[in-house]
Homo-oligomer: 769 residues x 2
């Protein structure tokens, strides 16, 4: 069957871009000096045989990171970034992740390169690796890269099928044809991205000495490079089949038969030894599931080795393959494709080298790049693309026109500056590590979700627990490992708690009654659903400072504070106001002391926090405005709740509060003088979170545990007022205000002052992962 014309005309380009995306990439672990590390895979990353996200490739030292299928490229890249940060943070002291596709310093004796070990159940994997070593040698196996897995959205595929109703084939056959067309055209065209995105133009002598003794490679000490190479990895020195194969792309069946023929002819031993730029992947029912693009080099300028924009170029080239006028991809085309790939890889920075166009005519690389870009643009009009894809198109154009902007050219340039392949790449590895230091709280690509959930998901990734975002805007996730399923909402709403405990915590009246019954101090007072009884309560409490509030308080509505109240009219009005907001109201004494948030999981107090209003500490030199700016430089502070702390604003509210103290933003506080910019202590208005976990007298922790047992709660953030944290609890020096059934965990993980209490780990432990 031939690749017939398809009608995509009715479908918007934005819709065609819908799909599923997965990324795999490898990095070799290295020592500080750039030598490949010979240690074992970090224990804290769990069992690499079953871990869904973090495993090893060929070598024990070659960490492989795998993102699950994501709905868009930004999320797939974000997932890989997150995994990368987790892996990087798990390495032994002095180890780094090598940011380059071509290997670091390899041992002179290749036998020293450790093959990945998988234990009892992984013998098969190990013996396959022995087989590879025997055929290709161990050194070549350490060439690393990025694999990009792509499938078209199933919904879009169905629409596409319906738009082509003149076709007589069934849906499955149609779908197969779509993928075969994309695959063949991508194979034909991928030279374009090799030229633009290749990022491995240099080598270390410990590799090229044994693998790739090409005369035109410039040897500069131990570093060597080819001055116009874009990618040694997909060029002559890389990890390719020794002899390029000719495969049959006319149907998926023919394609597989042509690979089987190679195996029969003992050209390769396994189908997976087809190291083409693109593989067509199938499921156990032999239906195509997705395409795997394999020619992408690690980008050493990116901390995680890859970028959204470059992968969007790959995605656009795939879509172009669907939109392109149908054409054959026969033996001639494949030979041209091989030639063009290797030429673009080995000499792609030299626009004068000769390529073959699709008709087999010779053309200079630069001309071909330009004309091919024009063809792309005709099908992928920038106006019809979403902004991020439009940017990718523009970036392609820039790279076509400015070879010096390509990754390979930039690497060569920067390396010349540092004069050394190893040193430059190691400096990049160190720089990348520094760039995330103190910021290891976000789950990249999912920063629309709550920070607490992001932290929990990071820990899930580390432990190899699968994550499904079952209702993303609600922070509703499904976790699963070895069949053990948990549904978790907002990180702390879990199956550990029973419904009636939640309802007890949700209800202030009930919470108080139950705590009181257990002999735990709560603010004195009473609750009323009868207005007359509430009013007559005045006689008992007159003269004291009280708060009158509706049972369910929303944003403080309906709350009245009466200091040393002695006006029955004021009191009765307060009662009436409170009843306007709820059927039940509370009349409570004011409580003294400082408020602490005590986080308890099961029977253990895992974190205690005190919140302080937004403030700066004077140094006798800087103005308040300057001190605020300095304090806001803390990477923990951000805007819009994406960070554990918020930047202190210099707004009206802050100015007003300063004014009330006889200050303004230009005042210069004395050294050591603490100036508050807010009355309220909310973290959301720039307040500081201060860890007190180790500083509070044990008796308060015991009370917190007792309180949660009284309500039969497993996870809670308990708010306690304490007069003096150093003195033991008595019957009148503390008071429990509330048990929160949905406490944030991030404030305990990344406080302004104090330790990371790792509540994400604690919750994962409690969930049994």
């Amino acid at each position: 069957m031939n690749l017939k014309k398809m009608d995509c005309g009715k479908i918007k380009l934005t819709q065609l871009l819908e799909g599923e995306f997965g990324i795999e990439k490898e990095n070799v672990r290295v020592k500080e000096n750039g030598e490949m590390s010979l240690t074992v895979h970090p224990k804290s990353l769990g069992d690499k045989l079953t871990h869904p996200y973090i495993t090893t490739d060929f070598s024990e030292s070659q960490v492989e990171m795998i993102s699950p299928v994501q709905e868009n490229i930004d999320e797939a890249v974000g997932f890989i970034k997150t995994i990368h940060e987790i892996v990087d943070a798990s390495l032994e002291k002095g180890e780094y992740l090598w940011p380059q596709s071509m290997p670091p310093i390899l041992p002179e004796d290749e036998n020293l390169i450790p093959i990945a070990s998988y234990g009892e159940n992984g013998r098969e994997l190990e013996s396959y690796r022995e087989h590879l070593s025997a055929i290709y040698g161990k050194r070549k196996q350490l060439v690393s890269g990025v694999h990009f897995n792509y499938s078209l959205s199933e919904n879009v595929m169905k629409v596409l099928y319906q738009s082509n109703t003149n076709l007589v084939e069934d849906y499955d056959a149609f779908k197969e044809r779509v993928y075969m067309k994309i695959a063949a055209n991508y194979m034909k065209n991928h030279w374009f991205l090799v030229a633009l995105l290749g990022a491995s133009p240099a080598l270390h002598s410990s590799y090229y000495k044994y693998i790739c003794k090409c005369d035109d490679i410039v040897n500069y000490g131990k570093t060597c490079y080819a001055e116009n190479a874009t990618s040694f990895r997909v060029g002559r020195c890389g990890y390719r089949n020794e002899k390029e194969f000719i495969l049959d792309y006319t149907s998926f069946n023919n394609y597989k038969n042509s690979i089987n023929k190679l195996i029969e002819d003992k050209v390769i031993n396994f189908a997976k030894e087809n190291y083409s730029a693109l593989r067509i992947k199938e499921n156990s029912q032999e239906k195509i599931t997705h395409l795997e693009v394999r020619h992408i080099d690690l980008d050493p300028f990116e901390a995680s080795g890859l970028s959204e924009i470059n992968l969007k170029m790959v995605h656009l080239l795939l879509i172009y393959g669907l939109l392109e006028d149908d054409s054959h991809y026969d033996v001639t085309h494949q030979k041209i494709s091989h030639h063009n790939q290797v030429t673009a890889a080995d000499f792609g920075l030299d626009g004068r080298v000769r390529m073959f166009d699709e008709n087999g005519n010779s053309i200079s690389l630069q001309k071909y790049l330009e004309s091919f870009y024009q063809k792309l643009k005709r099908k992928l009009s920038v106006e019809d693309l979403p902004d991020d894809y439009a940017s990718a198109m523009k970036e392609m154009k820039r790279l076509v026109e400015h070879s010096e902007s390509r990754l390979s050219a930039k690497i060569l340039k920067e390396m010349n500056n540092t004069d050394d392949y190893v040193n430059w790449h190691m400096s990049m590895a160190q720089k990348h590590r520094m760039s995330v230091k103190g910021k290891n709280y976000n789950f990249h690509g999912k920063m629309d979700m709550e920070l607490s959930t992001q932290l929990l998901m990071r820990e899930a990734v580390k432990r190899g627990v699968s994550i499904e975002l079952i209702d993303r805007p609600e922070n509703f996730i499904r976790l699963e490992k070895f069949g053990h399923e948990e549904y978790v909402v907002q990180a702390t709403k879990t199956s550990l708690d029973n419904y009636s405990s939640i309802l007890m915590m949700e209800n202030k009246v009930v919470t108080k009654k139950v705590l009181e019954k257990s002999g735990i101090q709560v603010p004195k007072g009473d609750s009323f659903f009868d207005m007359e009884k509430a009013k007559s309560y005045f006689q008992l409490i007159k003269g004291s400072s009280i708060v009158v509030k509706p049972k369910s308080t929303n944003f403080g509505l309906g709350i009245s504070i009466l200091k040393s109240n002695d006006s029955v009219e004021d009191y009765e009005r307060a009662v009436e106001i409170a009843f306007e907001h709820d059927d039940t109201i509370l009349v409570e004494e004011f409580v003294t002391g400082r408020e602490f948030r005590i986080f308890v999981i099961e029977d253990e107090v895992v974190g205690i926090l005190h919140r302080v209003p937004a403030n700066v500490k004077g140094d006798g030199l800087h103005t308040i405005a300057e001190l605020v700016d300095l304090k806001n430089q803390d990477p923990l502070r951000g805007k819009g709740y994406k960070t554990p702390l918020e930047k202190i604003a210099k707004g009206e509210a802050e100015a007003m509060f300063l004014k009330s103290q006889g200050l303004d933003f230009d005042s210069i506080p004395e050294e050591g003088q603490v100036v508050y910019l807010r009355e309220n202590s909310n973290i959301s208005t720039g307040g500081d979170s201060i860890d007190f976990t180790d500083d509070i007298h044990q008796s308060y922790k015991d009370i917190a545990v007792k309180a949660m047992k009284a309500l039969n709660v497993k996870i809670t953030g308990l708010d306690m007022m304490i007069d003096n944290i150093a003195e033991p609890a008595t019957s009148d020096n503390y008071s429990i205000i509330e048990l929160n059934f949905n406490p944030a965990i991030h404030i305990h993980c990344h406080p302004f002052k104090g330790k990371n209490r790792k509540l994400n780990e604690k919750i994962m432990n409690a969930l049994g992962y």
Copy 2:
């Protein structure tokens, strides 16, 4: 110490009425012929040794019902009414509760009267009963009555204490003095209520023959009565101490010493053999807890033997004792009190009999009643009382003025009509049973709470599980038995369910995803939080009938229904509208079939219900309006959700819907013709609930259980659309719409058609009680 004057002037009367109230009352079980039943206490009422509400008094046949402490008299009476209904429904066929304080037909041989048996752990109780038999005889022990336990609100007591700051005593001493004053004055004044409320003016020969051979008793066959007696029970034939004691009321300590003296002198054996009209009760710290009024007879006209209004008279007389000018209650007063009590009891319908006033002067009963009422009124002004207490005052006045209106007079009159003590009382017992038939769903005094909760609390009472209304407006209750505590909200929100399952049920998107994953049919469709994706989904579903709705639907807002939709504009507008109400929307196919509510507890389907819109069935004779009125006579139908079904309205909506069918309220449907008055099937608009538990193919029940296991739910009301209930489930003949985490149970207990599925029992079982 003397009873000094107290200042209650600043405290409103309504506030003084605040207090705590408990009731105990007994009924003898009888056979249909009025003979005392000799069977054992009903097994279904649990262990009478530990049951907090239902036990036995002296005899195995004498059921004692105990209300826990309640906040007002209406609730205490309601509790007793509820217990009474439960006990009455638990009796063996042919047994009744004898509605009279004086005994029914007793065995000629008093040894046949069975002493209550309490098993191994109740030997002490049994031997005390043996002791009583020996002293008083068994027959007298069967005299039954009402005990009214009262204490002043602790808050009011504190206010009272503060208002009397000129007093030097401490709070405890003050409180003791308050109760001693009320007690002494009540002892002095209670003759008044004996005269008005006595309700035992007659006897059966099997009692009087052995106990009370007074010459003036009129013997009429086996019935005998005294024509002016109000209460044999507190008169000469009743259960009193043979010789009235003189006690010391000057302080609680003196009071107790005077009782101990009686024991020393062997006048009585135990303190509880003091059968005064009022006892002062203390706790283990020897502090007064409450007062127990003991002279109240069962009211045979009331199903439960007592009425709110009569107990409010008792309460008012207690409060009067507090407000009355202080006075002594010495030996002379006590002798007068004894005389007045017995005279009022034995001759209280004769206004001419002579009483002693508080100064020891002789006065006719009628004069004394009138003058005493005037004194009462001066302290308890009707204008200052709440309506119900004002009514009680007015009723007192009526009873003072019209002796024929008193219970005793009415009993004597009605008995004369039926000519027989036994027959008349048995006819009352039968009438009372009939009056509650088919209405055993309410918890009296708590009808402000949801019917489901009322039903659950009824079952708790039956099983001897203590109930605390921890947040009444929320239907939040605490259950406890033998230390096993459960907090339950709205009858079905319990500790059995875990929080994440609740969140899954609450979230339609998640419910659907999880059910689909388990291979359970749900309405086809998809959810979206991206508007563009939602819009482009049109291409896949155009032409079919769909519903577009926000994820969280409130009262149907934001829902659009598109039948055979083929206008992209309509569809996109529907999507936009839905997004105005939620971040996430659902686009779903219309589902066919009939909707069933399947109630599942743990692994068992316990009830299946189908709801039918409000309708009547023609008989060829009556108009639709008449048919509605007839249908509305069903005791299950009420107004305002206090009953399992609602009355069908004859309002505008119904008239409109009839009109749309070419009918009006005056139309006369043919025999068998069903006319619908509403399109919607809600029970709240008069719909019928029809039990289908036994009629649905097993496969749907299996699916319901599978669905709840998929969500790890323990209690749910699952809504399923089924095409044909007789055919087994296939992959396209049913669909699960929703799992409700808060399903009503009453609709399954009292359906319009079908069995009571006793979900209240099932839930109590599941809770482990």
